[in-house]
Structures are given as C-alpha cells and as structure tokens.
Amino acid sequence: MTTTADLRELTVQALQNKTGAATNIYSPRTWSTWSGDYPVILVRAPEEEGQSFGRNGPPAFTVTSAIHIAARIHVPGAESDGGAVAAEALLEQYREQIKAAVINYPPIMSQLQQYPFFRSSIAISDEGERPIGEVTVSIGMEFVQGPEDFYPVPVVPLQGVDAQITEPNGTPIPGATIDLPQS
C-alpha cells in the first residue's frame, strides 16, 4: 500500500547529502527560517488528488500527490545587485540537484506508476540583511489505491469446520472436526 506520507518520507531520504544543503532538511517545519539555517530544504506533501477508476467495481483511484520541496539560500550582497545574480545561479543549481535526487530514486520509483509532472519556481528578495532566495520544486507522484486501502468489509471470522460423511447405520462415520484458529 502506497501513501503520500510514505512518499514524503522517501523524498526526504532521497535528498540526504544530494544537494548543497546536505542533511539540513526539515519535514515539516513551521518555524521561520533565519540566517543560521541556510542552506536549508523544506519538504511537505499538503495535497493529493484521487481519480476514480469508474462507477463499476470496487472503489479504486489513481492518486496523484504533489511533493513540495523548497530550498532556501542566502549569499553576500554585492555592488550593482550582484547578490541577486549569485543567488539566481545558486538556486538554479539546487533546482537541478533536487530533480536529479528525487526523480528516478529507486525506492520511490518502485511505488509509482509515473511522475506525471514537476513544477519549479524561483524567487529572490533584497529585503533583509543579505539577498535571500528560494527555489520550489513540486513533483507529482502517481500511484494506485484500491479497495484494500479503504474501509474493510466487516466479516465474522471462521471458528471451525466439522465434516462428516453420512453412512448406513452400524458402519464407521468418517469425518473431521477442525477448530480455528489453531495454536
């Protein structure tokens, strides 16, 4: 059974030591980032969407989860807005590092039908002590969740089996009595 939570954990695993942020990865995080953090990577999986197989048959879905990966960096300021140039170049490196680390990572691949999309965006701010930038890479992961993943049908467990063969009077009656579960 594949879940979005598993894929988020595997994404964190895939990113370890594969980018400039090394092992400085948070998933999730609510505290604001600060100058002592950078470079840092934040991983979340806030959205998933399921598309039904159809009206017939048991419930089954093609599920697409969007794993959001954000890398934040800062660089020294420089004349003529040179800090923004350096930040942009560094974030472009991170974008490729993140894609290379996660897409095709075997433990994730084995749970997916495909990576249906990725989307990336870069932003740099000159507010603050140094230029700070972020690249976000949202990677789609498609898998299937079938009836075994949802509400289980209530059943009464089998407690035993008694089998006998009807024979004429005076003859042995072959049969078996099995109590379940057997210890």
Binding site: S32, P76, A78
Partner: protein, 113 residues
C-alpha cells in the same frame, strides 16, 4: 520663523545623542572618510519568497545620516559603509531621503559567509 532642521534637530541627534561612526567608501575608489549616523539593524519579516507558509526572519540594516555631511557628492548606490560597532561592511542598495535633510541608506551586508 523657520527652523534649521539640520543644525537644530539632526545634528544634536546624530552627533551628540544616537550616532556612531562608520567608514564611508565611495564607489570607484574615492578616499574613504568617517561619517556619523544612526545605525538600525532591526528585525524584519518582510522577506517574501514563493512559499509564504514558512516565514523568513532577518534584519534590515539601515544607516541614517545627515545629507549635509556629503556636500556636493551625496552617497550613491554601490557606495560602501563599514560600521565600526559591529565590524560589518555593507553596500548601499537604496537611498531614501526624508525631505528634512536626513538620508536613510538601505544596506546589504557584503561580508563573506
């Protein structure tokens, strides 16, 4: 009666009360000289990135200085300031005059990480 804002207000505030020295270096290699101004290095959370759900804490360095200190050569973007109290060097990324003789120099720290 008009007030000479620079000499009556700014000069006492900057030179006698709240100011501190900093080395000002014009771009292009002009001779550095010392100016006195008020250095602010206060908290800001106005840094906006793609993912707004997790904030960004930083400080916004500003050096407020009297325009009259610079005579006919006012500070410009890309000039540098080294603040003595924290030993940090900055480049001027923006200049915001208040219209009363004071310039708020928006700074960006250039020290290597």
């Amino acid at each position: 009666m008009t007030i000479d804002w620079d000499s009556e207000v700014l000069e006492p505030c900057h030179d006698q009360a709240f100011g501190e020295p900093a080395a000002f270096s014009p771009q292009g290699g002009g001779a550095p000289f010392t100016v006195t101004g008020i250095f602010f290095n206060g908290f800001t959370q106005s840094v906006e990135l793609v993912d707004g759900s997790i904030g960004v804490n930083s400080v916004q360095p500003v050096f407020a200085v009297r325009a009259s200190l610079f005579g006919a050569s006012p500070p410009r973007r890309n000039d540098r300031i080294a603040v003595q109290s924290n030993g940090a060097t900055y480049v001027i990324r923006d200049i915001q005059p208040d219209g009363m003789g004071e310039l708020r120099l928006q700074l960006q720290r250039t020290d290597p990480l």
